[in-house]
Amino acid sequence: MALKILQDLRQAAVTSKVFVQRDYTSGTICKFQTKFPAELESRMDKQQFEETIQTLNNLYAEAEKLGGRSYLEGCLACLTAYTIFLCMETHYEKVLKKIAKYIQEQNEKIYAPLGLLLTDPIERGLRVVEITIFEDRSIGSR
């Protein structure tokens, strides 16, 4: 079902893109604005959107969390002259994989049926969350 929807999306013409910018009020940590963009008002539920963005923010906060684990990782890396990064996947990378999975899930379950597509922010250098709005033309049952 999700496959079909995505196939339909491919053939729909792109109408516009909405960019959710970063929110720097808490510093340089990765956080996106939860303000609901005007272009999506007719398309989806504000609550749902905010929930998605908030979950993303929480995941990024987890990746950048300063705690015992990250310090341990850092100290271990320092002692091995940082060569450990060559063989070990960092905590950050693990969380990024989680985020990618979450976004894919959200796309399949919520956004694709509405003719929208979320782009993983890592593909945009963690600058924006790009939401592509597809023309509602060929979506639906064939």
Partner: protein, 462 residues
């Protein structure tokens, strides 16, 4: 399928002299993103290693370290092992390895380069700036003010990267990249020092100060002991001339390296960057309300955060594959597409859309095709520099070569380093891109900001 393709595809097919269809992708070598990276960087080992294009005096740094250490192990260690302890070469060896590894990591790691904004994004930002009403008759330097921890911070717009720079990010004019938590561009390591490689840089200078001091001490000890046994310092020097070379090198480097280590220890403890310290961004003389909003007000926490904090992966994804630019677009509003289109424009307009679909398609294992339909809601005007609809750029816009003129229009201001009491560090210039004023809108920047690679030819719009 060829009948559905547009003239632009035919032009490309003519130029590249291979007929491509979506099913025939294997005939084209898929390229990696580093090959079309717009900044001034060099890539080796298929994108695994990166350096600044101007690698400065990195070879000199390496040579000096190797020569000094080599002479030490060859000429001083045998005597000292005999007279003192075997641990001397062991400690020296460990320090030497540490220095070399951290130096190479500082030089070869991505310092935290921010990838440039894609045309869609840039157009969106431009639209927001225009609509905000803050621009008056003359285009002002584009800034955005935000509050971080109750401190007003100005975010500047980078006209090369087409985005508002995040806090603590600066554009390096030597590397032509925006670097996160930009510290400085170090000619000795041949790379910028930023968020991702600051800890390597700090480890390098600290271990180098230990190594230099250690070698210096050992060589002095060696000469002293030898002169006692041969009754005269001159005789000792004659027997071991290499030691004099080492003494000279170490003596001159020790001041600057120790000074630099001390300075950076101060920066780490107060969670500052060299850039901020030089510009006096948070200095108290500006007023009591100014203070570093990023500090945790605790030396230990600051050190932990800067040196042992989580390590963000590289954002530029240099080993990722470029989406193939040969897939025919499937567009319904084909009447709006012009006949002639620069290949780069095609890439730009299709790349962003294709990337989205590809990312979805990869996960669901569908072959995606490009749909670069005209974004109807984006206003397309000649004043808009970076319309996503590069495909509807009118023929009168300038050729893509003006994409480079943006760079020349900037006036990089070299800020000399203010390291304390170090003459070597005086050469350690911190090149920051201090934007004085943004270029006027009428500079007809073409949307071709991402393709600097010489192999990307184009057909000029006429």
């Amino acid at each position: 399928m060829k009948n559905c393709e547009y003239q632009q595809i035919d032009l490309r097919a003519l130029r590249t002299s291979t007929t491509r269809t979506s099913t025939n992708k294997n005939s084209q070598r898929v390229r990696r993103k580093w090959e079309v990276f717009p900044g001034k960087n060099r890539f080796y080992c298929d994108g695994r290693i990166m350096l600044a294009r101007q690698c400065g005096v990195l070879p000199l740094t390496i040579v000096l370290i190797f020569i000094t250490s080599g002479l030490f192990f060859r000429f001083d260690c045998p005597f000292l092992v005999h007279q003192l302890t075997v641990f001397i070469p062991v400690i020296g060896g460990v320090l030497f390895l540490f220095v070399v590894i951290t130096l190479l990591q500082t030089s070869f790691t991505d310092p935290g380069i921010l990838p440039r904004a894609l045309p869609d994004e840039a157009a969106d930002i431009e639209k927001q700036i225009d609509n905000s009403g803050s621009s008056t008759y003359r285009p002002p330097p584009r800034t955005k003010e935000i509050l971080i921890n109750n401190q007003v911070v100005k975010l500047k717009y980078c006209s090369t990267c087409k985005m508002f720079r995040p806090p603590r990010t600066s554009h390096c004019s030597l590397c032509d990249n925006c670097v996160e938590r930009f510290d400085h561009h170090c000619p000795w390591v041949g790379n910028c020092v930023g968020k991702r490689n600051y800890r390597f840089f700090y480890a390098f200078i600290v271990s180098l100060s230990f190594l230099t001091s250690f070698i210096f001490g050992c060589v002095i000890t060696h000469l002293t002991l030898r002169s006692q046994s041969v009754n005269g310092i001159i005789q000792a020097i004659k027997e071991s001339p290499a030691s004099v070379v080492e003494v000279v090198i170490c003596f001159f480097s020790i001041w600057s390296i120790l000074g630099l280590s001390g300075f950076h220890t101060y920066l780490v403890a107060s969670n500052l960057t060299t850039n901020e310290d030089i510009k006096g961004s948070w200095s108290s003389k500006r007023g009591e309300e100014s203070g570093n909003p990023y500090t945790y007000n605790n030396i230990f926490t600051n050190c932990c955060v800067v040196l042992c904090g989580p390590m963000q992966p590289s954002l530029i994804d240099r080993r990722g594959f470029l989406p193939p630019d040969d897939t025919p677009p499937i567009v319904t509003s084909d009447t709006e597409l012009p006949h002639f289109m620069a290949k780069n424009d095609t890439n730009m307009c299709t790349q962003s859309t294709k990337e989205l679909l590809e990312s979805v398609a990869h996960s669901t294992m569908i072959q995606s095709t490009c749909t670069p339909g005209t974004p109807k809601t984006t206003p397309v005007s000649q004043e808009s520099l970076l319309s996503t609809v590069s495909i509807t750029v009118s023929p009168s816009s300038k050729s893509p070569s003006t994409g480079c003129s943006g760079r020349q229009a900037r006036r990089p201001i070299d800020v000399p380093c203010s390291q304390r009491g170090s003459k070597q560090a005086a050469l350690h210039t911190h090149k920051t891109m201090l934007r004085v004023s943004s270029p006027p809108y009428s500079l007809g920047h073409s949307p071709i900001i991402l393709s600097d690679a010489p192999n990307m030819g184009f057909i000029p719009l006429n």
